[in-house]
Amino acid sequence: MLDLLTGFVAELRAAGIPVSLTEHLDAAEALQHVPMEDREALKYTLGASLVKSSSHWRAYETAFEIYFSLRGPEYRIDDEGAEGGDGGESDDEAARSAGRGDGRGMGRGGGSGTGEGMSAEELADLLYKALLGANDALVTAVARQAVSRYAGMEAGRPVGGTYYLYRTLRNLDLERVLERLVAEARTGGADPREAGPDGAGPPPALTGLEERLLRDEYQARIDQLRQEIENEIRRRLVADRGSEALARSLRKPLPEDIDVMHATREELVALRKSLQPLSRKLAVRLARKRRHGRKGALDFRSTVRHSLSTGGVPVDPKFRYPRPSKPEIVVIADISGSVASFARFTLHLVHAISSQFSKVRSFVFIDGIDEVSRFFDGVDDPADAVHRINTEADVIWVDGHSDYGHAFTVFWERWGEEITPRSSVLLLGDARNNYHASQAWVVKELRARARHVYWLNPEPRAYWDSGDSIVGEYAVHCDDVVECRTLRQLERFVGELA
């Protein structure tokens, strides 16, 4: 067990979760107090002692599922038919008991089959029943059936789990199942609460509210099924390839380490979620830094006034309230397809902490350029404003391909006058200019007028100046060019700026 734990801790560290030696020892000690056979308890025990941040929980969970997965002959990939005989039977049983609405207690028993004997229609029917009846055992069984049937897993094939997941889900067509469930509920045919714990009777007709709730209910169950399928695939992969090899290929990056440019949809959601606490923390930290910073100059008048109580002896010198200068920020961001999400995150972050700057002005461009500061005025949630930018900003000039040169020229003509020595200019983009003229002189002029000019590039440093990227031409005129691929890097940069 200790060996397993050591391997597990190594995997967590590899996934980016900081696990200290004391935490490792704590986990080892904690293990003595929980029963080994209780897998859930084990998971929370290790989680409580090893993982100290909720944003790391997902990565932890993935690693846990891999390292402490259920193993046994029934999870082998090539075991079709090995015990299919009784599998089919127990599934029928599960189905029947689900009909009666009391199949909950069956646990793993109902789900142990790998049955071959089911046709596609039978499976679809079973799936429908499982979702209708909120029967956990049946959902597990269906997940297992679906994986055996549709994923087409081959032993020893080094593909990731997502491929199998995709294949399984495509065949199940959950969207259609959802529509069917809702449609049937609408006609009054079925109500999930019939099989649910409280046993309330079905209402005669559904109001909008009820239908809405039903849909959410089914959606939650379908999500549960999807989760179950994912687990099933993972278990089989572990059985096939061993935990270490798999952990490497399934490792999930922490939200703050996700590469913004290549994030999947799911990762973007995670990013958006972690952005809000991140900007709040940053604002708190910066505000604190300002408040607790150096005291201001001696306030002579106040000191003398207070010295009256000590007979004119200035015992307690008073200082002026410090007013450190707040920089003025001008953000000029490329929002063309390739770097759009990065620009959105940066704009969001900068505006979320706008109280730390005396003024924030934002401009977005593709080949035309438009000021978008107005979208942020009087909006308490920067996310809304960022959303409006995508739909309302006027950034297309000719063809909607990035043209840094033209955008910069227009910026210089229209707003160049407004750049003052108090402004810090942030240029955001990958500088992939589609072989247009660079017009780097604008950046040079900006540099001359502004306090600082920084370029944030969401591409890995190795790709700079390759292909049509001309970041080098601009870089010579900037104070600094910063690689900003992840939220962590972005946070650090913005933190230093303020």
Binding site: D26, A41, Y44, V51, S54, T207, G208, R212
Partner: protein
């Protein structure tokens, strides 16, 4: 080692630095299941994670750092554990500017001054020993918690509100269960308290603090648990209504609102509905009472609109 037994006998101190761990008392709980049932007995419905961590906190004699969105029952957990174990609850509410004299201990200057003025002809040596004795010590929550002879649950609420530097105050007491007072020596715990620290995650806590704690993240509960919570906490609610409330709240949480409805707000809403005599919620009633559940006008408008309409009518 010079053991100085003070007049009241409730405190054992020594002038030397003592190390080592106070004796752990007998375990408070038998198993994780026992924790869960016990908490249910005091109307706190814990899930496996919560019960498991409380159990471990007792067995490992480690503090628990509880994080999670506001209103999910972090503070309530500490209170419930105190009720369950029959311990005294000592609460330290953190805020910016909290310092040693408010968290740990303070010398009672006025009383010390009086003592010096009422000089009874003692030598300075004796006097000094006298005015820095326990009689002149004002204990604050942290010291109170480890000195208490009866079992104690210590709740350090909203620990993320104190400055990073102040966190260091907590470190000694959290890991060694002792407090060092320069004039008096080291005060060690007579019994190991169960410690809960709660945080709303407004800033990153220091590694040193996190390392000493077990970590528990309490999130919004699953549908079944939330329904059970409503039924336990709201007297006189019908099962059907509790079910409907839980479902509506779950739907609202999928909406990506500014502030998701918390468990405590859900309970308030359920109570309101009971008081209003509502049997089954329809859209109008929901809209009229949403302001209890949601605290932003834009959220309320959005939720009312969403609840009335079906997501994507085919």
């Amino acid at each position: 080692m010079t053991e100085v037994a003070d007049p009241t006998g409730s405190i054992t101190t020594s002038r030397e630095i003592t190390t080592g761990f106070p004796e752990a008392g007998p375990p408070r709980f038998d198993s994780i299941g026992a924790v869960r049932e016990g908490l249910a007995g005091v109307s706190y419905l814990a899930d496996d994670g919560i019960a498991g961590v409380v159990f471990l906190a007792d067995r490992l004699a480690k503090p628990v750092l509880v994080e999670g969105p506001a209103g999910t029952g972090k503070t309530e957990l500490a209170k419930s554990v105190a009720r369950l174990t029959g311990s005294r609850l000592i609460r330290l509410q953190c805020y910016e500017g909290l310092d040693e004299s408010k968290a740990l201990y303070e010398w009672n200057y006025k009383k010390q001054l009086l003592r010096i003025q009422a000089d009874s002809g003692q030598s300075w040596q004796e006097l000094e020993e006298d005015i820095f004795s326990e009689e002149f010590l004002l204990t604050r929550p942290l010291l109170e918690a480890i000195r208490s002879p009866e079992p104690v649950v210590l709740l350090v609420d909203e620990v993320d509100r104190v400055e990073l530097e102040t966190e260091a105050l907590l470190l000694e007491i959290l890991s060694e269960y002792q407090v060092s007072i320069p004039e008096l020596g080291t005060v060690r715990a007579t019994q190991i308290p169960l410690v809960f620290l709660t945080s709303n995650n407004t800033r990153e806590l220091s590694e040193a603090l996190k390392r000493r704690c077990l970590y528990l993240h309490i999130d919004y509960p699953q549908l079944d648990r939330e329904r059970a919570i409503i039924e336990t906490r709201v007297p006189g609610i019908s099962q059907a209504l509790a079910d409907q409330v839980a479902r509506i709240v779950r739907s609202l949480r999928t909406l990506d609102l500014k502030k998701d409805p918390s468990v405590s707000e859900t309970l308030d809403w359920a109570r309101t509905l009971v008081v209003l005599g509502v049997e089954s919620i329809d859209v109008d009633q929901a809209r009229d009472t949403l302001h209890i559940l949601l605290k932003y006008q834009s959220d309320i408008e959005r939720a009312a609109k969403e609840l009335a309409s079906v997501k994507n009518p085919d």
